[in-house]
Amino acid sequence: METHDYKKAAWLALALVLLFVAGWEIYWRNQGFALSFNDDESLWAHNRKKIYNTAPGQPVIIGSSRVKFDIDQETWEKETGYKPVQLALVGTSPRPILRDLANDPKFKGTVLVGITEGLFFSADGSFMEDRAAKRLAFYPRWSLSQQVSFQLNHILESNLIFLDEERFSLNSLLKRLPIESRPGVFVFPNFPLQMGYTMANRQEVFSDAFMADTAVQHGVQYVWSYLGMLETKRGFSGDTLSNIISSVKGSVDKIRARGGSVTFLRMPSSDPAWSAEKQTHPRELYWDRLLRETGAPGIHFTDYPELSKYICPDWSHLSPADTKPFTKDLIRIIEEKNRVTLRKTSAIPKIQ
């Protein structure tokens, strides 16, 4: 005997789902969380499409998390009148993306490359390149259907906190269950839920809760320690390093040949991360050699008192308040270093 009350069942299901969604959203809002966008393939591809609108003040930023946190895009836009294109990927070497830009004949713009030595000077095909490689493979296959979905998703994500996949999806929450793992298995540690959020322009920002609570900061520092940021073993050398630098030079040359430019950026880090990084990747063996062999300009935070005065609360990224003056100073230094003006208005004299 079949039930004929499908309508009742459907209404009940709808009511329960709506109740749950409302309750779930209210719960996370009451916990003090802010809206965050999913930094997924579609958001990256959406930004990748913008790289052809060239202007020195509208650079393409590639690198890892430091340039995503530290370059404040709102400040950049306010100062220059241009929106930079943020293509950096957390925990990833930017070399595949640099190669992709170099191999795109239509790209003639400016690239700012954030260097986190442990990630940048990693071997070809390593785990550090994995996420970048996936984004690059996805971009040409980004179908019209996915682009429409992205726009619809953007509207929903702009209004609903619980749609933050990184933190509030079922898998993310299951991973946070206190289940002891098998001995000997590497388990990627969880960042504290309160760490921060991603803006629609892919800017990463520490949350107020993170800035106010040292326990949360310690939680992030623990993750860095667990991931080996404090290890002092020397990075790649010999042929591996030579090949890395040589391939980067090839990319830089291609971009320059089309009239574009590449500037390397070494963003601030703080003790104990900075002291470990000095040992794993001594400046003269990595940073200086990279600039020398590629012939590209570079800005190292330790060379400028205005860039090196900050303390990173998690040892690796700047606080939201610090990113604003840091970005202003960075713009000025890039202009001086590269002898260009990044600003749209003519109020600021062009440096030649």
């Binding site: 039930t3 009350d5 009742k8 789902v17 259907s145 979905s149 898998n171 929450l173 289940i179």
Partner: protein
Amino acid sequence: MVFNSYTFVLFFILLLVLHNLPFSWKTKKINLLLASYLFYALWNPPFILLLWLSTVVDYYMARLISVTEDKMRRKMWLAVSLVLNLGMLSYFKYGGFLLENFTALMASMGIVFQAVKPDIILPVGISFYTFVTLSYTIDVYRRKFAPEPSFLNFALFVTYFPHLVAGPIVRPEDLIPQFKEPRKATSYQMLWGLFLLSLGLFMKVVIADGWMAEPADFIFSLPFPVNPLDAWSAVLAFSAQIFCDFAGYSTCAIGVSLCLGFTLPENFRFPYAAIGFSDFWRRWHITLSTWLRDYLYIPLGGNRSGGFRTYINLMITMLLGGLWHGASWNFVIWGGLHGLFLCIERLIRGIPKRQKNTSLAEDMVIQATIIPIRSKNMSNFLLALFTLFLVNITWVFFRSPDFGSAMRMLLCMFGVITQGPKMLATPDMLKIAIVTVALFCTHWYMRDKTVRSVFGRFPWWLLGTIWSIMLILIILTQKSTSSFIYFQF
């Protein structure tokens, strides 16, 4: 466009509104056809030309076949259809594979042949709509089905979006008659269709993509051996993933179609409770296995030409069935193993049954246990487990990127390589274990039942609660962009 996307939600709502407005039946069919083209074009617009080519050529070839009595001419028109459809399929799907093997063959003979590797993109759904259109011209040739006079009906039969990119593989008699009379979903069809859509999405989004894909992808992508437990976990994860992915797609397709008032054929019938491989293929991708049976196995002679020839026919059918899935020797091995298991099963079934008294003795032993089971049930249960075990062995070839990786995985699974590291975390292993047991138990319980017969008996509040739990889990999982595994076939 995929069913698990916001684009589809918008598309489907608009289409449902259009389909339920008081337009003429012809206008509604035109709407459906245009919507189907849009559904397909949002993947890769230029490939729609192939779909049109296939539609137009098969429509006219079938008409020519039906109006001529001359055998040679009939064969010639059929050949045009076969060459066009199979030619396109071969070029796009097997071009690179053939060239690669030709180069290897030349190299083995000491001839250095280096051709430029063709940069061919596989048009999504080509394997499915090729079989759909082929069945039409072959059926018309066999005079099993009169050619459809309405081009609109025929184009809609080929292009109807629920089945277009990943099946079920429909036959002319499945759909064309449904397009002849005005159809609109009843309220029951609409609600049941939406329930099936939710169930399919739950299988795809929550189980396949949310829980099983990550551990399976992770282990199968490793270039080194792993711990036996990890190897088994990865295979079981893939086993659950591919079922929930593909059966999820079919369930969505059937549900979506029902909301529009059309029924599509069943494609899965709880295959992981199959007792033996012939039973498995009566339950897994039913529309493909019946297609291969009717258009390949039977024309080859089926089981009408003696024992040995039957085994050969079985092997040819399964090898080609394997190759249908993709241009790789691993798929051929996968198909070959299924063919081999079918042959062995057929051989065993030919052996006379054992003495009755042995069975009685077994009955007594089993009845003496505390579990209230019947011996037949128990032996069937064990046979189903054994079948699932062998099916999982074949999945290793299906999923592994190459033959070497598949062999390495098998050596890990059977403890020949034991020194591989442990890679999967406990929560992942728990998820896999729970899903595997739940999947097998569900399939065993549902073996001789239907989703409708089981859910239909539930009181409304229970059905509503289960429905809402599935929807909530879909919303919580938030995986909206990944496409279905079978799109690559």
